[in-house]
């Protein structure tokens, strides 16, 4: 549906985007995930028409998008700041885009009422933006964008201004709405948990380039680059060279992993904390001493200092753990749980 090919954008000596290519499918909930400053907003602004790339093309259903003026594109952007018009009521804000399409008054009113109901703001129609809470403003911004029934809706950090509880609510709400209206959503976020819980597919950005595009589970279980392994979820990362059994570490010996790489390639091995077993004294591939135990309710984090490695290995266990700080443990994991990443 949306096809981005070889898009680059530089600001002076800052390269905001370098050679980005992506394909987004009809009806998809797509997330652009990356640390701040990696060019996510710049890409959205290019799609919306407020920025133009130095190189590259963008097509929507086969039509060139870059040649169209911002106000003619069948694309809407929900701004990070929401950008609600302060001198208009909620209803007027939402109606603004429809009035620009020269629709009849009755139709405008009907669609505004419908969308306000959909986001649960029917009673707020007469208020002005400054009389609303953060979560309500966010809903108005969303209503204002979806009421236009765009082919593509772009959302720039839609939940970042909300506090934690409202945020969780709005995540569900966003998903429900996307399902209901059937519009393709592209959401930008720097919060990997948010991207995982919302999106059908995620593109991980780093320094203006796409590192990996995958479904959340795939991205989590099979990171393809060192950056993705470190950025998406917690990971224990070991350095060494690929061998048939996994990874040959310089000081730690052979670590089990799912190797598909030629022997001897410099590689990283990534193991998720929840995949590591605390087996006790003698079995296991790594021995070490527990330096810290933190209980988080549903899970506990155990930090294990392994000789020959500077950072402690992080292990996550279900519920409360019996392990005590200072005790000796042996760590082990299944071969399939060690992911090898070429360096």
């Amino acid at each position: 549906m949306l096809k981005i090919t070889g898009v680059s954008r530089r600001f002076g000596d800052v390269t905001a985007l370098s050679d980005v290519s992506l394909e987004i499918r009809q009806g998809e909930f797509f997330a652009l995930l990356g640390p701040s400053g990696c060019g996510k907003t710049t890409l959205l602004r290019i799609l919306a028409g407020f920025e133009s790339p130095d190189e590259g093309t963008v097509t929507l259903d086969g039509d060139d998008l870059l040649g169209q003026a911002a106000h003619r594109r069948p694309v809407n952007l929900m701004f990070q700041s929401y950008a609600l018009f302060p001198h208009m009521t909620v209803a007027k804000n939402v109606a603004y885009g429809l009035e620009r399409e020269r629709l009849g008054r009755a139709e405008v009113r009907g669609r505004v009422d419908e969308v306000l109901q959909k986001v649960g703001l029917e009673t707020m129609a007469g208020r002005r933006p400054h009389q609303l809470s953060g979560g309500q403003r966010q809903r108005v911004a969303l209503a204002r964008a979806i009421v236009k029934r765009p082919r593509l809706l772009l959302l720039d950090e839609p939940l970042s201004a909300l506090d934690k509880k409202v945020r969780a609510e709005m995540q569900l709400e966003l998903k429900r709405l996307q399902n209901e209206v059937g519009i393709t959503f592209v959401v930008v976020t720097h919060d990997q948990e948010e991207a995982m819980s919302l999106a059908d597919r995620i593109a991980v950005f780093n320094a203006g380039g796409v590192e990996q595009v995958d479904a959340p589970v795939e991205l989590y279980e099979h990171p393809r680059t060192p950056f993705v392994a470190g950025f998406v979820g917690a990971n224990n990362i070991f350095e060494g060279r690929a061998c048939s059994a996994g990874l040959a570490g310089e000081e730690l010996g052979i670590l089990p992993g799912d190797s598909g790489l030629p022997d001897g390639t410099p590689a990283l091995l990534a193991v998720r904390p929840e995949r590591i077993r605390l087996d006790g004294e003698d079995k296991g591939v790594l021995g070490g001493e527990v330096v810290d135990v933190s209980f988080y309710g549903g899970i506990s984090h155990v930090s294990v200092q392994v000789s020959g490695r500077r950072q402690p290995v992080l292990v996550a266990t279900q519920g409360a753990t019996q392990v005590q700080t200072g005790s000796k443990v042996a760590l082990g994991w299944a071969e399939g749980d060690g992911v090898l990443i070429p360096q």
Binding site: G49, L77, S81, F85, Y96, K148
Partner: protein, 257 residues
């Protein structure tokens, strides 16, 4: 820490210095006697004389025509110039040049305009004063609106474009309402400055169409009369009203945006 009362002395002294002349003027305008300097009791006599003075009435009408006309022109042109400067150039020099007439000495502007009118062989009259006042009024409007624009949120304009509004609709529906308090303040500034402007008007007016300040000047040359005091008091009232109205309106439009 207790503040020393002594610190308030220069403070109040400043206010006394600022307002004594004005208070004297107002009191003297209600003087029953003939002298503008010696108070002899209360009377409204001089306000009556003032109303009967044809020269002053004519000057007042001229001044109002010039002030209203130049304010309208200055507000429209100054706002457009400010938007152009803020949104479509990055040149500091153009920015400075746009606001220069506001700080230029009136003499320079007055002589310059006179020379200009002579060069293009224009006649002098109310129209020449009106255009002259537009020049400096516009600079003030530009300066005020320009400041407001630098603080305005450009994402609102982008949001409007995003929702399908043309650049023109965006300007009218989004940019202008955002700028309203600034435009209003600029317009009132241009109006009050025009009403009592003397130097430029003196250079660019025709002898047959004097503005109020010129009329007053020609009367004062033969000595101050209590009549002049009454006129000045009325002008003071107009200025005060303008300031208060501006404050009210700015607060009103601010609370809307």
């Amino acid at each position: 820490m207790r503040k020393s009362r002594l610190l308030y002395v220069p403070f109040w002294a400043t206010y006394v210095f600022l307002y004594t002349p004005i208070v004297v003027l107002v009191v003297m305008s209600f003087n029953a006697g003939d002298s503008p300097y010696v108070y002899e009791g209360f009377s409204l006599e001089w306000y009556g004389t003032l109303a009967k003075n044809a020269a002053i009435r004519e000057g007042l009408v001229n001044t109002l025509i010039v002030a209203v006309g130049s304010t309208v022109l200055a507000t429209v042109l100054g706002t457009l110039l400010a938007v152009g400067l803020a949104r479509h150039t990055r040149s500091r020099a153009l920015d400075a040049l746009g606001m220069l007439p506001a700080v230029l000495p009136d003499l320079v502007l007055g002589i310059g305009l006179l020379v200009f009118y002579a060069t293009i062989k224009s006649t002098l009259g109310l129209h020449s004063v009106l255009l002259a006042h537009t020049v400096f009024g516009m600079a003030f409007v530009t300066a005020v609106v320009r400041t407001r624009l630098t603080h305005a949120d450009t994402s609102l304009e982008e949001a409007s474009r995003d929702l399908g509004a043309t650049p023109f609709t965006t300007f009218v529906r989004i940019t202008l309402p955002q700028l309203a308090p600034g435009i209003l303040a600029g317009a009132l500034l241009a109006f009050t400055l025009s009403i009592d402007e003397f130097v430029i008007a003196f250079f660019t007016a025709a002898p047959t169409t004097p503005t109020l300040p010129i009329v007053i000047y020609s009367m004062v040359r033969f000595g101050v009369t209590p009549e002049i005091n009454a006129l000045a008091t009325l002008l003071l009232l107009v200025s005060f009203t303008a300031v208060i109205v501006t404050q009210r309106m700015t607060r009103l439009t601010e609370s809307l945006s």
